[in-house]
Amino acid sequence: MSTEYARNDWYVVADVNQLAAGQVVETRLLGQPLRVSGSPDAPLVTTADGTALPAQLRYDHIWTSPGADPRPLPDIAEAAERDRTFVPCGGVRVRCSPLRAVENFLDIAHFPFVHTGILGEEPHTEVAPYKVEIREDVDEVWATQIGFHQPQAAKSATEAIETRYEYRVPAPTTAVLYKTCPPKPEAWDVIAIFVQPLAENECIAWPWMALYDEVTPYADLVQFQQEIFLQDRSILENQKPTLLPLDPRLEIPTRCDLTSVVYRRWLKRKGATYGALTTAA
């Protein structure tokens, strides 16, 4: 287990709702206990010995990094578009590797079986070929040209549509998806997952959305996303091995798993192995 790479990324450790309610959050990051306190505009993150870590409010969440020289926090340009509705969906604890949680977020093939009637349905199970690449200039994984038949692509969808998707992984535990916005087809809805690694085999997933939807009540938006994510949780907790295998001998991917294949290759290349299995047993 190495936290060498992981220490220099930024991680969500609380959301704006918790600090606005005056909570002091006792949590963990990369196996170490942390306390999050203060207000949303002046958050305070301290370690067990009282050392203050850098803390900032971005995308309705409180972020910190335990490293000496953190890489930049991923930029999500759509967060500046003030006519979007921003929805922090709350943290959900999952007994799985933080990398498994991201990989699941990137997977399309499970939609008809796990998110039946919402993100997919039989017999529309085929994943058409799509494109995945590591964009070297920004050091990010991108999956593009994805299309999928979805009965209820978003709360704002009034009928089944062929949804277009793009996925982007700017950091090992941060992933962003762009999908067709049903009421505004020329724009993308943005859904991100910020994964807080509690330990190598346990994490908190913080889904966040930036949507164009002026009609749906806010609570319905939150619950739509929570229902989807909690459908994944029991699946994630039963995946074996718990850690994400980076050695291709440990799990056999198929063509529809191309995003996962490239994500794993990218992690291995960077040495981002916290939460990963690096060699075949």
Partner: protein, 218 residues
């Protein structure tokens, strides 16, 4: 409209009402309440409706119900044309059902709270609440095992009642708190039977039956 349900999609107590309504084939209106992360059940609007600040809340006309077990009773007496879900003409069976409605309330405080703790980081004494949950699961297992030895399957009598619906969600969802069903064969059998009921609806963490079938006949 028949009734309104102030609903949180991940709540096992709200699911009891959604499931019962589905099994009775009753259409209703839902109003989403942002229980988490918004804590909207503690907002003035919801507290005015239910001072206890719990979900679900069911309203129909001027009636406001805040206790899940009362809602199940009302649903059965109002919409069950067969009269089997809450059999008022059988005192002993009705009393048994009421016993298990009480048990279902305790189960919410043990297995239900353990789940909130593990899933949404709810404050709880994890050790105590999980010990209580295991004790409750064993109680239910023993009862259902006795029922099997008597040639039965359901909690009270020969068919499903509101007692089964009341006990089902937090039993089925206990793996969300790491409390697996492997050691409870009678519970597993009964969970299967509930999921096989015509009109059954799922919720996150509780799957439709065909999801688990290993082979398909057609």
């Amino acid at each position: 409209m028949t009734f309104k349900l102030y609903n949180y999609v991940l709540s096992g107590n709200c699911y009891k009402i959604r499931l019962m309504a589905a099994l009775l084939d009753v259409a209703y209106e839902t109003i989403a309440v942002d229980f988490y992360p918004g804590f909207e059940h503690r907002s003035p609007g919801i507290l005015a409706l239910n001072p206890a600040g719990t979900l679900p809340v069911l309203t129909s006309g001027d009636m406001v119900l805040t206790e899940t077990q009362a809602m199940l009773t009302w649903l059965a007496l109002t919409y069950d044309v067969t009269g089997t879900w809450y059999p008022v003409d059988d005192p002993e069976r009705l009393a048994t059902i009421t016993e298990w409605l009480g048990f279902a309330g305790r189960l919410s405080q043990s297995a239900g709270l353990a789940r909130l703790h593990d899933m949404l980081n709810w404050p709880a004494d994890e050790k105590a609440v999980k010990a209580a949950a295991i004790s409750d699961l064993r109680t239910l297992e023993l009862h259902l095992n006795d029922r099997v030895l008597e040639g039965g399957l359901w909690i009270a009598g020969d068919g499903p009642t509101i007692a089964d619906i009341a006990c089902f969600p937090y039993t089925a969802l206990s793996p969300d708190a790491g409390l697996e069903h492997d050691g409870y064969p009678a519970i597993r059998n009964w969970l299967y039977a509930v999921r096989a009921l015509p009109g059954f609806v799922a919720m996150p963490g509780i799957h439709y039956l065909h999801d688990l079938k290993e082979t398909s006949g057609d």
